[in-house]
Each structure stands twice: as C-alpha cells, then as structure tokens.
C-alpha cells in the first residue's frame, strides 16, 4: 500500500496547489463576469464592438419605456452608462435593482443590450404593508466578490 500513499499525497498536492492558485492567484483580474460602468468607460475603445457584460444598478428615475424600446441608465455610483434594449425585461426588473446586461457599446458610450439579467441579493423577506426596499439592500446585490 506504500505506492497508494504516494498517490494520496500526490493527489492532495495537486488539488491543494490548484486551490491555492485559484484562491490567491490573480485569476479574478482576468476572469470578470461583468464590467462596472467605470471600468467599461475606462477601457474606452477596448470595450467597443465586442459582446460584453455590464453590471450595475438601474438608476432610479432613468427608466423610459418607448414603444418596444426600453431605455435606462446603469450606474455604479460613480459612472453612469445609458442602456437601450428591445428585450422584454425580467419580471423582477425595476428601478434601483442590480442588473447584468449583455450586449455591445458604441463609440459614443451607448450600450445596446441583447440579454438582460436581474441580480437578486441574498435577502429573503416577508412583504410588509407599504414597505419600500431600502437602498442599502439594493447595493447589496452588487457586492463585489
């Protein structure tokens, strides 16, 4: 069974170092699920044309439905990006909630979304009469990992 113990040590070493690499390595820098508006604007031409994901909050008061088009702004508190889409929004979609929109941005900074996703936070609450969701809870949906 001596050889098997070597196998055990080898396997543990492989999985341990893989975990360490992923946990402390800079993988997150290269592997970003979505860009914040600030990052996208900072990337300038690099962001234009390619299909990217943009994540942020739907800026309160920015939602303008016109015909089959939905216009709103996505913000991270610092930078705001205008988004237009012809998609049907998810039922949870509303002002102030976190969204991840997939699509392209043009040179003028206008984002066109072909796929919209609503981010739900980790709070589960019973409805109360006349309650309004707090802003803090909304920002909670955009917590960065």
């Amino acid at each position: 069974m001596k050889r098997n113990k070597l196998w055990a040590i080898g396997a543990l070493f492989v999985s341990g170092s893989a975990l360490a690499y992923i946990a402390v390595g800079d993988l997150g820098e290269n592997l970003v699920y979505y860009w914040s508006p600030t990052e996208m604007v900072a990337a300038k031409q690099k962001a234009v044309g390619a299909t990217i994901r943009l994540g942020g909050l739907v800026e309160p008061g920015s939602l303008v439905p016109t015909g089959h088009t939905l216009n709103f702004r996505v913000t991270d508190g610092t930078t705001t990006v205008p988004v237009t889409t012809q998609e049907v929004p998810p039922q949870m979609f509303r002002e102030g909630i976190g969204v991840v929109v997939e699509g392209t941005v043009d040179g003028a900074g206008q984002f066109t979304s072909k796929r919209m996703m609503v981010k739900h936070d980790n709070e589960y609450r019973a409805p109360t009469d006349g309650s309004t969701p707090s802003n803090a809870a909304m920002f909670g949906t955009m917590d960065e990992g």
Partner: protein, 221 residues
Amino acid sequence: MKNQWEHAVGLFGLVLLMIGSYQGLFVAPPDRFMGDVMRIMYVHVPTAWVTLLVFTMVFFVSIAWLIRGTWRWDALQESGTEVGVVLGCLLLCQGSIWARPTWGVWWDWDPRLTTTAVLVLAFGAILALRTFIDDPKRRATLTAVASIVAYVDVPIVYFSVRWWRSLHQVQSSPNTVDGSMVTPLRINAFAMLFIAIWFIARRYRIARQRLAEEMKELEAA
C-alpha cells in the same frame, strides 16, 4: 426486514421533507419581491448543502482507500459519487427553474453556475472512469486519486460568489432571511441529509455485492 437502520433514517428524512416542504409552501410567507418563486429555496439550498457534503465524504473515503486499502472505502467512494452526481443534477435543475423568473434567464456562465456544472461533470466523468477499468484495485486507486483532485472544485463552488463577481447571490445567513423562512429551510436540510444517507447506504450494499462477485470471478479465473 434487514438493514432496518437505513430505512428508518430514510423514512425519517421523507417525513421531515414533507413537514419542511409543507411549512415552506403553506406556512412561510412569500418573498416581498420574488413572491412564491422563492419557495424553491427550501429545496434548492438544502440540496446544495448536501451535495457539497456528499462530495466531501467522497474526498475523505478516497483518502481512506489510498491509505488503508480496505474495500469499504472504495464502495463508499462509488456510492457517494453516484448520489452526489444525482443531487448535483437536481441542484442545477432547481436553480434553473428559480433563475428563469428571477434573473430572466435559465442559465448563464456566471462563476457559481459554471463551477457547479464543472463539479457535476467531473464526478460524472469519475463514474464513467469506474466502468472503464476492470481491475478492482486499479479502479479504486485511480478513481480515488481523481476524486481527490476533482474535490478541489467544492471549495471553489462555495467561495465562487465571494471571490468573483457573479449573478448568483452570496450565501444567505439567518440575518438576511426572515425567521419564518429559516425553520422550513433547516427542516429540509436535515431531510435531504437523511435521504442522502439512505441512498448512499443502499448504493453501498450494491457496490459491496458487486465487488464480492468480481472477487469470486477473479479467483475462479
């Protein structure tokens, strides 16, 4: 009835599941935004916990096989992996059903979802690997090594929502969940745990019998 202990555990789990699901469906309030859709949490979250727990067991029995070389560890590796993969598939389906009305999509390649899919595929591949190797000792050793390596994905799945930006929300805690919703969640967590133990125990006996048959054939040959 033989092997009564595991049937007792399993039946207890089923009763708990009925109580927890009844509470989750009819007693607990709906979520203020998601409405009734959030009730799937009462099976989804327990399934997730138990899936990761079962793969954790597979990890330790794999090490035990490599150190001890006793067949019971290999049989547990096989049964645990199989139950874990089934639970993992259930987990992905439940999540998908919840995601469509909440996020608006059935699936997206966010870190949590991707790493979970990798987890299920990796252990599914280990099950396939088992069927390819005829020599029981070789099979046990190779799948134990593969399981230890594949297990690395379990902490990654757990921390994916904290390490990286994701669509999936981070773990809830009793602070972020209404008290009325915590009780059915806890009941169902124990229910799923007992049911998983039941399945693993049943599957373990099959694995032992197959191993015994294989040994007989090898001796006869």
